[in-house]
């Protein structure tokens, strides 16, 4: 008994001494994780049952790999480096993850799963392991879709993995609307965020431009001249039918050059002719409650909503040259935001509210810059010798899509913002492609 007590006292003293010493020791400060380091993902091919599942499994695997790489936050390990099989076990009753085996090949994430395809569609379940901490981040999550949704399922899993590691969902499973003349006339097209699966959304055979997504992601508003050769707003929606022309009778049918949905989708900011120039208005989706926000003899265009819908960035040449301004959503407190550069336009407010991307004319071409909404920080983002225009944010605020003539003809490119990389990824390859509009997270 005495011995036990003495031992306990010794242990307590030891712990106290250890704690005191930890506090006394100098702190090792880690401040500068350099380079564009990425998490390394080991993806085992999902277990499948039956021939149809094999095909779906391959599609899921490929889309998952591409989706993770598209995030810019992950690189995918070659399965030939695996110390274990390339094929995932079925998750039900799968053996526990042998972390040292994956740590040894420098994997940060291990992805396992299973895919089943049947007449009812594709069903994929995955689990995600944090190798360094040897902990499950996702124990089992299931995605289902139609048989031709296998690629979407893979991308959705990739976005989940990005979220599990960073707290913010990835954007592989999102879409970008844009304008292309690849079919002859300028039409609205929609493609996956990585440029895959591009398809025409309109066949107006008329000039269409300025697409903008409804925040639900179910429809796109755009400008077209198909009605009496005058600019008007149209809506194209998923599903069997589309509303077509909207806000038709507004202010006696005056030309509307552009419409942008507010973050709730209940109102639009529109650019409309008024007293010989263009002014910015807001109006309910159905056409009611019109409110004029700008009133002057100058041109006011390019509205972009703040993510909370309380403010708008826009462009005005009221001082003689186009500059970016910010105002409240009721038109009050209009203030100039950009002072550097003689010609600034096309503001795009980031979904996280931190930045407004815009174009600055530099020596006859346009660069992309970022400015914070208070105008304290103003930094160049894309400064290519050719023009980079029409920035649009991904819903996670990590990326920007824009149009660029760096190859001669305009194409759509995507760039990672946080890394400040100028290695923009070109995601279109046919015709002239302009006016990208990144869609919201898909629900």
């Amino acid at each position: 008994m005495t011995r036990t007590l003495a031992a306990l006292v010794l242990v307590a003293l030891g712990l106290a001494a250890g704690a005191a010493r930890a506090g006394d020791r100098p702190e090792i400060q880690i401040t500068d994780p350099r380079g564009d380091k990425t998490y390394r993902a080991a993806i085992q091919r999902f277990a499948t049952k039956g021939g149809r599942s094999e095909q779906a499994g391959a599609a899921v695997h490929e889309a998952l790999q591409k989706g993770l790489e598209f995030s810019g936050l992950f690189s995918v390990l070659n399965e030939r480096a695996f110390l274990e099989g390339a094929k995932s076990p079925f998750l039900d009753g799968a053996p526990p993850v042998n972390c040292p085996n994956w740590r040894q090949i420098d994997a940060d994430a291990l992805v396992q799963g299973e895919v089943e395809a049947s007449g009812e569609g594709v069903r994929a379940t995955f689990r995600l392991h944090d190798v360094a901490r040897c902990q499950a981040l996702v124990r089992g999550k299931r995605f289902t879709g139609r048989n031709d949704d296998a690629r979407r399922v893979g991308k959705a899993i990739a976005d989940e993995i990005v979220e599990a590691f960073t707290g913010v969902r990835g954007v592989a499973d999102t879409e970008i609307a844009f304008v292309s003349n690849r079919g002859g006339s300028k039409e609205i097209f929609v493609m996956d965020a990585d440029g895959a699966n591009a398809r025409a959304a309109t066949k107006n055979r008329s000039l269409s431009s300025f697409p903008d997504w409804d925040p639900t992601g179910n429809s796109v508003v755009y400008t077209s001249y198909r009605h009496r050769n005058r600019p008007s707003l149209f809506l194209v929606a998923r599903g069997p039918s589309s509303p077509g022309r909207i806000l038709a009778g507004l202010n006696g049918g005056r030309p509307i050059y552009r419409g942008v949905f507010d973050p709730k989708g209940s109102r639009l900011a529109i650019v409309m002719s008024s007293e010989g120039n263009t002014e910015i208005f807001t109006v309910e989706r159905g056409g009611g409650g019109i409110r004029r926000l700008t009133r002057n003899r100058s041109i006011d265009v390019s509205p972009s909503w703040s993510p909370d819908g309380s403010k708008l960035a826009f462009v005005s040449d009221r001082t003689g040259a186009p500059q970016v301004y910010v105002m409240n959503a009721d038109g009050s407190s209009q203030r100039r935001l950009t002072f550097q550069g003689g010609y600034n336009t096309a503001p795009a407010w980031s979904p996280d509210g931190r930045w407004i991307a815009y174009e600055m004319q530099v020596g006859g071409q346009f660069d992309l810059w970022l400015i914070d909404p208070e105008g304290q920080t103003n930094v160049p983002l894309v400064t290519h010798a050719r023009s980079d225009e029409h920035p649009t944010w991904s819903p996670d605020s990590r990326k920007l899509a824009f149009q660029s003539t760096r190859r001669g003809r305009p194409d759509i490119y995507v760039i990672d913002v946080g890394s400040r990389s100028e290695d923009a990824l070109r995601i279109t390859n046919a015709g002239d492609n302009t006016n990208p509009a990144w869609g919201p997270y898909r629900r």
Binding site: R25, T31, N204, R205, N229, P322, T383, G418
Partner: protein
């Protein structure tokens, strides 16, 4: 005649005395003038004595404590997604194709861009930010070199590779300083930071139990950044960096993770 000579002599002596007195008075007056002269510099012409105390960094004691986490720290994000099964919504049909309408020539720009007016040449873009110099490393190296070359006892000359609440000014041996620098490099290499975190003010403090051969025996978050994903990236970095270089002393060592390059 003699009387005349005598009176002349007396007169000469009187004159001499008068001159002497006059000279003395003049000297006194000049002295007084110089003493009271307005040209006299105010105060002493010598610079004030500046007392310089040469001290080693070790004498300074702990540096001021850094500010606590800023109030503007983002609120803790929601907990990690629950392990629930999610059903992917059915792939919506591709956006429908409206009925073709007659082609109408209309090559007008839909939204007129404001007319460009002659402007002065826009300023060239700001130069990209220069790569961050690892100040702490350089400082540590300089201090360490100073310590090794100094004839003074190493305890006074050697300093830490990293400042901080208990860092700057704390006395450590060159061996410890060297180990801390190596550990810093080792852990920095293992730390993968999502670029988005660089744009936020985040700091996580952990205490790591380091075994005699550098193995990580355990770790505790002593101050969370408030962002669980950021905290996890820190823990991941420590785990990936295992084993650390063998420490001069096994035991608990404090670490702080805070990106310095915010843009």
């Amino acid at each position: 005649m003699q009387q005349l000579l005598s009176s002349l002599e007396d007169e000469r002596q009187r004159q001499f005395r008068r001159l002497l007195i006059l000279s003395a008075l003049l000297h006194a007056a000049l002295g007084f003038v110089f003493w009271w002269s307005p040209l006299k510099p105010a105060g002493t012409a010598l610079p004030a004595v500046v007392r310089v105390d040469l001290v080693t960094m070790a004498d300074l004691g702990p540096a001021p404590k850094p500010a606590e986490a800023p109030a503007a720290r983002p609120p803790p994000p929601p907990p990690p997604p629950p392990e629930v099964k999610k059903v992917l919504p059915k792939q919506p049909a591709p956006l429908p194709k409206p009925k073709p309408v007659e082609a109408k020539p209309k090559p007008k720009p839909p939204e007129p861009k404001p007319q460009e007016k002659p402007k002065e040449e826009p300023k060239p873009p700001e130069p990209a930010l220069a790569p961050e110099q690892d100040y702490e490393d350089v400082l540590a190296q300089l201090r360490q070199e100073a310590g090794e070359k100094s004839p003074q006892p190493v305890e006074q000359a050697a300093a830490l590779p990293a400042g901080g609440p208990t860092g700057l000014g704390q006395v450590v041996s060159p061996e410890v300083a060297r180990w801390m620098r190596d550990v810093k490099m080792h852990v920095t290499r293992a730390w993968i930071l999502e670029p988005g975190f660089r744009l936020q003010v985040l700091e996580t403090k952990v205490e790591v139990d380091v075994g005699p051969t550098g193995e990580v025996l355990g770790m505790r978050v002593t101050r969370s950044s408030g962002n669980p994903w950021y905290d996890e990236s820190v823990e991941r970095a420590i785990r990936k960096a295992t084993p650390l270089p063998a420490p001069p002393e096994a035991g608990a060592w404090p670490f702080s993770f805070k990106p310095s390059d915010l843009l």
